[in-house]
């Protein structure tokens, strides 16, 4: 299935893009999408503890299952305010 991946801040800069489409096997989870990101853009360091995720614009944990056309966001540590 194909999902849209959104990248931000240091991830976006490391990848050189803010959006890309990942092709993942059926049954893939949000964590699998993140692993795909890190494999596709080696400059992005995989940091399990400090990275959060959103699925279709709602916070989720890494084990959330993906469906065709989902939007997955990889959220590095936030710093709003």
């Amino acid at each position: 299935m194909r999902v849209t991946v959104r990248l931000f801040a240091a991830h976006r800069e490391a990848a050189g893009t803010s959006t890309y489409v990942a092709d993942l096997p059926d049954g893939a989870t949000v964590s699998d999408a993140y692993a795909h990101v890190c494999a596709s853009f080696p400059k992005i360091a995989h940091r399990a503890g400090s990275t959060a995720f959103a699925l279709n614009r709602t916070h989720v944990s890494g084990d959330a299952p993906l469906n065709e056309s989902d939007e997955v966001a990889i959220l590095p540590p936030v710093a709003g305010g």
Binding site: F8, A54, P76, V78, G81
Partner: protein, 139 residues
């Protein structure tokens, strides 16, 4: 600005945000305004760059307001955040809360900005004479 939860590249106006609040029955309005500081964690700051996940931010602000309403005692909450490049002294965020009494107004305003810093999908790049870094794990 007519919405309670806004992400904008335009300068923020704290009074306009507070003016959005429903004040019927409000004895207290508490407003928090965040400004860009010239110094941060031992570095000189020349400007800040805020980046957000815009399609998600307003929903998170709304979620924070819902959490506040679930705790009770508050009439209305408005949260506005700036994105883009900000100079020193500019306003990055305004949180305004109305309540019948001052104690829940203070508690809710503080909760909102604490929570925003925890969960809002917003990132900040600090520019200094030494270079630029994305800020992480800011308290």
């Amino acid at each position: 600005m007519t919405q309670h939860f806004v992400l904008t590249s335009q300068p923020l106006d704290e009074r306009a945000v507070a003016a959005l609040l429903d004040r019927d029955g409000a004895g207290a309005v508490v407003t928090f305004v965040g400004h860009v500081r010239a110094h941060s964690r031992g570095r000189d700051v020349t400007k800040l760059e805020y980046e957000a996940y815009p399609e998600m931010v307003e929903g998170v602000f709304k979620q924070i307001a819902d959490e506040i309403h679930a705790r009770g005692g508050v009439i209305d909450v408005a949260i506005h955040h700036r994105v883009g490049t900000l100079e020193v002294g500019e306003v990055s965020v305004v949180v305004a809360v109305s309540a019948a009494h001052r104690s829940p107004a203070f508690d809710a305003c503080r909760y909102a900005i604490d929570r925003l810093k925890q969960i809002a999908p917003i990132w900040k790049k600090e520019h200094s004479p030494d270079g630029a870094v994305w800020v992480e794990d800011r308290p």
